[in-house]
Subunit: 187 residues, 2 copies
DNA sequence: GTCTATAAGCAGATAGAC
DNA sequence: GTCTATCTGCTTATAGAC
């Protein structure tokens, strides 16, 4: 395979930015082309399945970044509070300090919803399980841990929605700061 | 003004359903036409400003339904716990038991975001103020009330996002059930 | 692997008959 | 007030040269 002008990693980063800003339907090939600097035909050379395959690749790319930044810290061999604190740093970076949208949100409706719901469901499942295990490690029972883990995801998603609607990132910042204590405080 | 074949109220309800299911960019005129049973030209007769005006009218329509179902209960002359409980019934209906998306979410990005952010911001502001006043009436100070009100909105939005991504409404139902107690419990 | 040029179809929007 | 027919431009996607 001959070298491309731009590493696929970089291409995916740029595609991701467009999908996250405009959503699936709003991310036109023209915009994706401009953002990558590649002509439309070059994009179709990379992704023979067209826009749908681009979105799928973006989803996988985003998923692997999320694993590295957010899931991995939850599996470290340190105390629960420390794991959750490290995770919040990862979340802060992953969501660009609260200024980025989540693909869980943007790919969950309309044409994208029909195509990608199974993947979204899987991502949520993995995140909730990793969170719940940390909370169990802190001494909470299975049900309590599952519920708190779910609440954490709800809170993160909600804060991102609010931040986007208001144009402010302060809600996300506050929520992130309080998250570890909230997940571990006595019932 | 001669009578129309369908009351504008009914037209707005149907437009709302499409915008809430597909988002702004995904809601094509063809779909809006099919959902209302009106030809494209008839839609443009109602809304001379085109799709942008349709979305604006939908936003206003949704806003007034939200006022009646959710804000009004918060201003009743009964105890705070009762006001919040009644509000959750309104939320349940407004969001179709958790199966409907929120325009705060769907109109917050892409082309819609640029057009409607001010209105979204206003809606959030009104909801948060109404919630905070009830929480203050229960004896909490201004800051605590504001924070809890904001958390409530975050939680509702997040639960809707999660519900859409997983195709389940159980998260929304649980969150709604716990909301009054959570907003009023001792600090 | 990248490009220019172009195809085919759908988008939003309008004209004008009834 | 509603319709059919139509316009223009943008959409996704492809062909084929370099």
């Amino acid at each position: 395979m001959p070298a491309a002008l731009m590493p696929k990693e970089e291409v995916l980063d740029r595609l991701t930015r467009v999908f996250r800003e405009y959503g699936y339907d709003g991310a036109s090939i023209a915009r994706l082309s401009a953002a990558t600097g590649l002509g439309k035909a070059s994009l179709y050379h990379y992704f023979k399945g067209g826009k749908q395959e681009m979105a799928g690749a973006v989803l996988a790319h985003v998923g692997s970044k999320f694993s590295a930044l957010v899931i991995a810290p939850l599996k470290q061999h340190v105390d629960p509070e420390r794991r959750l604190r490290t995770m919040t740093y990862g979340l802060n970076e992953f969501y660009d300090q609260g200024g980025a949208s989540c693909t869980l949100d943007l790919f969950g409706f309309g044409s994208a919803g029909e195509l990608f719901q199974p993947q979204l469901k899987g991502s949520i499942h993995r995140f909730r399980n990793a969170l719940a295990e940390v909370i169990r490690a802190a001494g909470f029972d299975h049900n309590k841990a599952e519920t708190r883990a779910e609440d954490a995801i709800v809170t993160i998603q909600g804060a991102l929605v609010l931040g986007r609607a208001t144009g402010e990132t302060s809600v996300f910042q506050r929520v992130l700061k309080d998250l570890p204590e909230r997940l571990l405080r006595p019932a």
